[in-house]
Amino acid sequence: MRPILSIASTTVGEAIRRRVLLIILLIGVLFLAVAPGLGVLSARSETTVLRGMMLGIIQLTSAVIAIVLTVYMLPNEIERRTIYTILSKPVQRWQFLVGKYLGAVSALAIMMCLMSVVMVLMYWYQQHAPISEIANLLKAPMMYFVQMSLLAAVAVMFSTFVSPLVNFFLSGGLYLVGSLFNPFFETLSSNNNTPAFTKTVAKFINLVLPNFANYNVQNPIINPQQTIGNETQYFINVTVYGVLYILGLLVVGILIFDRREV
């Protein structure tokens, strides 16, 4: 456990100093800061628009950070030969990969916290909303964090065998497909009018594809059929789903990484 934690904390130390990530984060924060100003443009329902916009900014920025953070992680270690010194110590490859992943997720948590804080401050400043409403607003970023952890695991798994650029498109593509089309496959597989074969295929895709859409709770346009009864239960369910999926991805990544020449 000790090596995993050391590798994780070193990864955090590196990540929060990476200029690209800081620039992306800065852009996100800037957009959050000006969002209330833009929200005024829409007279209709200012609050809803502002919320949607701020959460959208956080989600998009986090997704970009999650991918950029992870696709270069392993290739950089190999290119700079830092991995050799580590693997020549009593550190197993799985410990290295898990440490790297946990570090990435922790760095992501720090950055998402920062954005959430900015969002809350801006929202409070603009709306003078009560604490309960603000606490409610914070539920979405928590869901996004699980989503981004899942995305990071996808990218880490791919990074054990593809180049960063390919990985960028693979993970990014999977994120989009998993966010946009998963509800479609879900509908297809649960609809009684669907032919049996299509239904099986849809079920399979639905099972294999990481269901990123689970976490887009604030977006009723994308998830029209989603009505959440017990919120806490739903949150627990999708978190468990996320963690299990992440474990699966890491196991696959470790199996590939173990056999790989570095």
Partner: protein, 319 residues
């Protein structure tokens, strides 16, 4: 003496456009405990590949190897060895001290006194709070050596430890390596800094295109130097030659006398006696030692690198 490293037919092949290439080809290495072993070879000879196999970072295609008595890839051995890669790079945001703490934690070591001692040993105790990005190449190499000592290793792998360093840094590194040996550690150095290796290594192997071309004690491998004797007082080169009790010699006429070029192993004093006996005057005797560089160039540029020649203890069996 026990073998620190022993490999049998250790082979690594990669697929290239022209088919399968043995980058390391049936390597039989033998490194004894407590020695500084020089692993020499030109660029691309397969040195780094061999080290990575010994460390279990890449997997052999064929053959086997033992490090400190354990089959390669055995994690237990990683507690007893350490490795400084060629042109190493360490996490730049760390300070020297943080770097030692990080690598120490991989062993479960957290001993501030040890970190101080190691920093002092590599003469970085004054720079321990600078980040690695502020370190010079020489300092980076030294902090690398400090981290390599954290687990009190029995065996160290140093891949080109003096590559790209200035003469002063060279000397610092060399002194450190010698101190490792004095502490009873085995040091495996890959290098092509031959003058360096000649100064510190007990035994060497020369690898070329993945094949060991020479392996043995440096003193044995470098046997066969020559001696040059300059004399005067002879009528001609022929007259000088006639006075000598030697066969395999070579005399050149100089403006002031004659130059005799004879093998080192001959009995020098009998030659001197016969020159004196013939009323010759000896102007100078200069031993010309065979240098590692000569051996290296001779080995690497020879046409058939596939023949392995091993010299072990047996005097005079060289070449």
């Amino acid at each position: 003496m026990a073998a620190a490293i022993q490999t049998t037919k250790l082979t690594k092949s990669y697929n290239s456009r022209s088919g399968k290439v043995n980058v390391v080809d049936h390597l039989d290495l033998h490194v004894e405990e407590g020695e500084i072993f020089g692993f020499l070879g030109p660029n691309g000879a397969g040195k780094t590949t061999t080290i990575k196999m010994l460390l279990g970072i890449i997997y052999p295609s064929f053959g086997e190897g033992y490090v400190l008595g354990k089959e390669i890839g055995d994690m237990d051995v990683h507690r007893l060895i350490s490795y400084v890669p060629e042109r190493p790079y360490y996490y730049e945001h760390m300070t020297g001290l943080e770097l030692l703490k990080f690598y120490g934690s991989l062993f479960g070591i957290n001993d501030p006194a040890l970190f101080e001692r190691l920093l002092e040993k590599v003469n970085l105790h004054r720079d321990k709070d600078k980040t690695i990005s502020q370190y010079s190449k020489g300092m980076q190499q030294r902090i690398g050596l400090a981290q390599s000592l954290l687990n009190d290793p029995k065996l160290l792998f140093l891949d080109e430890p003096t590559g790209g360093l200035d003469p002063i840094a060279h000397r610092e590194i060399r002194d450190l390596i010698l101190s490792f040996r004095d502490e009873g550690r085995t040091v495996f150095i890959s290098s092509h800094e031959l003058s360096e290796v000649e100064l510190i290594c007990n035994r060497v192997a020369i690898i070329n295109k993945g094949v060991i071309a020479r392996q043995g004690k440096l003193t044995d491998l470098l046997r066969g130097g020559r001696i040059e004797v300059t004399v005067d007082g002879f009528e001609s080169a022929e007259a000088f030659l006639k006075a000598l009790p030697l066969k395999d010699t070579n005399v050149r006429t100089l403006p002031s006398g004659f130059l005799l070029d004879m093998p080192e192993l001959e009995d020098t004093s009998s030659v001197i006696d016969s020159i004196r006996g013939a009323k010759g005057k000896i102007l100078s005797i200069v031993p010309r030692k065979k240098r590692l560089e000569d051996l290296f160039v001779e080995t690497v540029s020879s046409k058939q690198p596939s023949k392995t020649i091993t010299v072990e203890e047996s005097a005079g069996a060289n070449q």
